[in-house]
Symmetry: C2
DNA sequence: ACAAAAGTGTTCGATATACACCCATGT
DNA sequence: ACATGGGTGTATATCGAACACTTTTGT
């Protein structure tokens, strides 16, 4: 039998299948806290509870495309940092039926987000992570996302994704401190990131203290 | 509408769904090389090509359980280290139909594996990773697995999973060297892992040089 | 005796930690 | 003038890289 012949006689309907969704944890920093976007569910199951942004995976889109679509529908955002987290497949995670969820997380500076009026809102990530009132296993997903971010801060540049294109060093340091959960030494922090930033010739003004320089992320040399 | 009523009128057949598989890359060390278990496919698609161990996810098993089952069927192994890697969902990764693959990797000491006669065999992981003759996107999965292992060697204890329960330090060092792809200094290596190991009172013998002490992994204190 | 590999102590340099101090702005 | 936070130099501790040397077996 040739491969062509084989494909012709293969009926995919013969196999029972679980459903597949993508769930996305959009993180940002507001009020000096890590926040995550959650939706008040208006429908069953878990009506009235908070859940992540999510969608069923369409038959004509990749997983990444599903994630982008779900994010764009709820926030209008595009071109932001996002990454796959983990895939959850417990039998009882959705009371309707067998649903496997591919989870993602995304990072966005709060300055560049303007939520359309609706049911999506930012909540303290730590509170969501520790609540037992969250729909599905989404509390666990947020926990997992926070953990991943904490780990990656130290050996990647993800912190820059939580800050506008132009930023000051105290601003960037604050992001690191919030993610790591501890105060950092100014001088040491600056040495550590010195080779990742590019000065502009702008400065802040209007505050009752010394102005700070404004930087951009240095493009990696290719 | 109550949640119960809602669930009753919900027909999951209304939604078209992709298939879900689990694919597993079983790594071990043989002949001073990192190897991965591959199967010669006897059926379409990709008949005659090498593929990872895999299976469709059953409706009554979690993803982890599917991975364990697939592994056990092909090797008879159980209770070994394994971890989810990444989930692949490109539209064209399987010519039959839309298939989403949750990939795993597993580690086993070659001493504890005895392949049943059959089509499963170990191949050089690097060669699989660089071949363009591998079924599906399994070459990419192996690449991804190697990368993950490389990263985790330095901040976890996964290297111990590639060595028998009782081992010598030169043996363990070799594993680190193979995974990292570079020679290490004996003295420095020993200082680094000193607090992770437990001496037994056994020693090797029979070789034309000084015998080495035999150790076990120290149980983390709980 | 010698080859071969196991095992150990010590130096050197890089990096992270900690602290002390100076600077520029608005009120 | 001074409070506030931005910005920088220097000393100390910690960790890893590198090397030199000793030890124990089989032949």
């Amino acid at each position: 039998m040739t491969e062509q012949e084989f494909l012709k006689q293969y009926h995919r309907e013969d196999y029972d299948r679980p459903s597949v969704t993508v769930d996305l944890a959009l993180f940002t920093i507001q009020d000096e806290k890590l926040k995550v976007l959650m939706i008040h569910r208006k429908e069953h199951p878990f009506q009235g509870k908070l859940s992540l942004v999510g969608t069923f995976v369409g038959m004509q889109e990749s997983l990444d495309e599903s994630a982008v679509r779900a994010l764009n529908q709820k926030t209008g955002l595009h071109d932001i940092y996002f990454e796959q987290l983990y895939t959850w497949g417990n039998l009882d995670r959705d009371p309707r039926m067998r649903v496997i969820s591919v989870s993602y997380y995304a990072l966005v500076p709060s300055e560049s987000i303007q939520l359309p009026e609706g049911d999506a809102q930012f909540y303290s990530a730590d509170e969501i992570a520790n609540s037992d009132e969250i729909a599905f296993d989404h509390s666990q997903i947020v926990r997992y996302g926070i953990e991943r971010i904490r780990n990656k801060v130290n050996y990647t540049d993800i912190a820059f994704s939580l800050v506008p294109e132009e930023f000051t060093l105290p601003q960037l340091q604050k992001v690191y401190e919030i993610l790591l959960g501890q105060k950092l030494y100014k001088a040491n922090f600056r040495k550590k990131i010195a080779d990742k930033i590019q000065p502009t010739n702008k400065m802040t003004s209007g505050e009752a203290h010394r102005p700070s320089h404004i930087y951009r992320k240095k493009e990696s040399i290719c």
